[in-house]
């Protein structure tokens, strides 16, 4: 049977799991130089889910899509080393400073340009922002159904996918039609290691920009082996409204960053009733959490 066309959304993030004293700059922004850049852990869980589908349905293809600076091409190579088929690096100065809204806009415009696919799989959230918003926002903008907190893809039959979700107090199994957006929870299986042959096959893979700056003895390779050319897309390659990109397209503003010591020991349960939500909003505005 023919396989599925899968897009994995991945992000290169500073490794905030091993934060030292110099992790933050004085101005409250992340000191990226002090933290190694890694493949966002839950995006690796997402990639593993995609690879399992590929194992089960030969002929499936996986494209890793990442938005970030030039060095984020590393994420695509990491994906190729594990079994992805190709990747797109979405990179442009115009994207700098994007919050989740501007990011999901840029990604969804890229996906529209990309063409047909069967599913988009992303990690639940990135460890630098912890918002868990980009996946769901992409789904909304693309008009696709979404299944969040996925832990296991159990079956794909007759255009329907069965997914086990990890919820706060248990699991839920849902069925959804293709295409869709899935965000994968960290409790899903860890991603497999890089594969020796794939490493050797793809280690020279580069974006156009990397090729220009590289002092590369193997330049001939890029003509002979098209798979070594990582697609690099800029705003020129997608249709966008510039106003919705980058800082201008980002309503989120960082007002202040400070160290907090968590004091409240008990969690508060708030129902979805209007009263509860009103009460919560009032509280949050009063203590300046929002607004």
């Amino acid at each position: 049977m023919k396989g599925f066309k899968i897009i994995v959304l991945a992000k290169q993030v500073p490794d905030t799991r091993n934060v030292g004293k110099d992790a933050m700059k004085a101005d409250g922004t992340v000191n990226r130089a002090a933290l190694p850049a890694i493949f966002n852990p839950e995006d690796l869980n997402a990639l593993e889910q995609a690879l399992r589908i590929k194992d089960k349905f030969p002929g499936s293809t996986i494209t890793v899509l990442t938005m970030g600076p030039g060095r984020a091409a590393e994420i695509i190579r990491e994906g190729l080393f594990r079994g992805a088929d190709d990747g797109i690096l979405l990179t442009d100065r115009a994207f700098a400073g994007s919050d989740t809204l501007a990011t999901s806009y840029a990604i969804s415009q890229t996906l529209k340009k990309y063409g047909k696919f069967d599913m988009i799989i992303a990690g639940r959230q990135a460890i630098d922002g912890d918002t868990a918003q980009v996946g769901p926002q992409v789904a909304e903008k693309m008009g696709l159904p979404q299944v969040t907190y996925a832990e296991e893809i159990q079956a794909i039959e007759n255009g329907k996918i069965t997914i086990k979700r990890r919820l706060e107090r248990g699991v839920e199994v849902v069925k959804c039609s293709l295409p869709l957006v899935i965000t994968v929870n960290g409790s899903a299986p860890e991603c497999r290691a890089r594969n020796a042959k794939l490493i050797m096959k793809y280690k020279h893979a580069k974006t156009v920009t990397e090729l220009q700056v590289a002092n590369d003895d193997y330049i001939q390779l890029y003509n002979d082996r098209p798979y070594l050319n990582i697609k690099e897309w800029t705003v020129q390659d997608i249709e966008v409204n510039m106003e919705e990109l980058g800082l201008t397209g980002s309503p989120t503003k960082v007002k202040k960053v400070e160290n907090v010591v968590l004091q409240s020991k008990e969690a508060k349960v708030i129902t979805s009733s209007d009263d509860d939500i009103n009460q919560l909003m009032t509280e949050l505005i009063e203590n300046h959490t929002i607004g």
Binding site: N18, R192, A193, R194, N195, A196, K197, L198, I199, M200, K201, K203, D217, Y218, L221, D224, R225
Partner: protein
Amino acid sequence: MANYYTDNKDLKFHLTHPLMEKIVRLKERNFEETNKYDFAPMDYEDAQDSFDKVLDVVGEICGDIIAPNAESVDAEGPEIVDNHVVYAPGTEVNIDALRKAGLMGMSLPRRFDGLNFPIVPYIMAADIVSRADAGFVNIWGLQDCAETINEFASEEQKMKYLPRVSAGATMAMDLTEPDAGSDLQAVQLKATWDEEKGTWLLNGVKRFITNGDGDIALVLARSEAGTKDGRGLSMYVYDRNNGGVIVRRLEHKMGIIGSPTCELVFKDAPAELVGDRKLGLIKYVMALMNGARLGIHAQSVGVSEAAYREALEYAKERMQFGKAIIRFPAVYEMITTMKAKLDASRTLLYETARFVDMYKTYMHISEERKLEKEERQEMKKYQKLADIYTPLGKGLASEICNQLAYDAVQIHGGSGFMKDYPVERIYRDARITSIYEGTTQLQVVAAIRGVTTGGYLAQIREYEAQKITPELEYLRRTLIILTDDYEQAVKKVVETNDNEFIDFHARRMVEMAGHIIMSYLLVLDSARDASFTKSAKVFIKLTKSLVKGHAEFIRSSVMEDLGSYKIDLE
């Protein structure tokens, strides 16, 4: 988030030894496969980069998966279910990770889906895996049985079995029997040709078979009915999918518990003859054993590394009398000596692996084309060196491994005796290294040729002539004196022409040669990287006391001494 390759810079140092360029060029036949396989290297630098990146994955899997699983695998071990082996759950996870990472069949040619790595990076992977779990390395490392298939089997058999190994099939070498251990000439498992079925059938019992229920096994069996010695034995390949072999029992062992040690019953098990009849023991098993011995040398080094690290960590943290115990001379001497022995053992490992690489690669090339005269000479030179270094390395490194495991427990004091710390497992795991694939005593029997023919001495003289930095000159001077002591001791013993007297002193002479060789290698390492100087200095002090001691023992030894040791059995 540990990486057992990148956290140990000594590995990369050995990986980039100057001889590697020649090895890689030969192995890659001047990079003729560059455009044939998308993962073949383009030049030496590209190949080195590939080794580095692939070993990085080995290190990551070892640090993140295999080492954390070692404790549960040791506690649970394998079991027999319906006459077959079921691994501990952690073992299955380990195998799956390595399989998916494509780390099986590392040294096999690309046409059999292998990575075509030289022995050096393959052995380095074994070194790394052994540090993570000494028991598990047996299951993974038995892939070097495939090398014997690659050397001696028919093209058809290679095509049939080798790609399966690359895809992750596990292997076994079925040699030992209840009455044939060190003396394999006594093997009795019967191989009979069945005309009707058109296949060889195997019948009998094998014992102490590591990973005996592996997917593909090489079996030593008696094909010539009525014979009693090694000349009646042939080598077979058995495919587990064909059935006919059951696992009757798993041994309860002191260590390497995760590695199943099986008693196998063959009942009309179909098998294919490998190579020629009657050459089973004399040719093929020797090749198999040499590969396995190099593997045990790597295992010994990996376990030594684990022991050293556990000891160092504990000695830095453990506070007594108001300070960390590593600050006491009794302890820091132990730790520093451990590191020196570890470095010595490892440098001998990679020297041996390079010799094997040079000779085996020439051997494979000689099957493709006639070697030039110079190439033939080089092949012979390295074959001789590989032959005398393999038992020397296995023998000495496994003893060092045991010493390090002992010292690591000692440094932990009472805590080391408890199951709470990994050293307890390391101590049990280390013990087998000086026993299997030939005890140290048998390695000495194989290595003594290097002493009596002057093979070690000639190589020592070669090391002596190599360029080093002036700061290391005084170390060389010491070693020249010790080499004279060795030469005189050997002369005295060999001149007696008495085999029993030579056997009596064999281990002493082999140890002297081995220590001088390891010392020289450390000096040469120091010339390339000053960080080895401390180990070189410390190890040469050990070598000096050992060589002087042994030399004195031999100097004052007379033939009548043997009588003082012989045991009266009447």
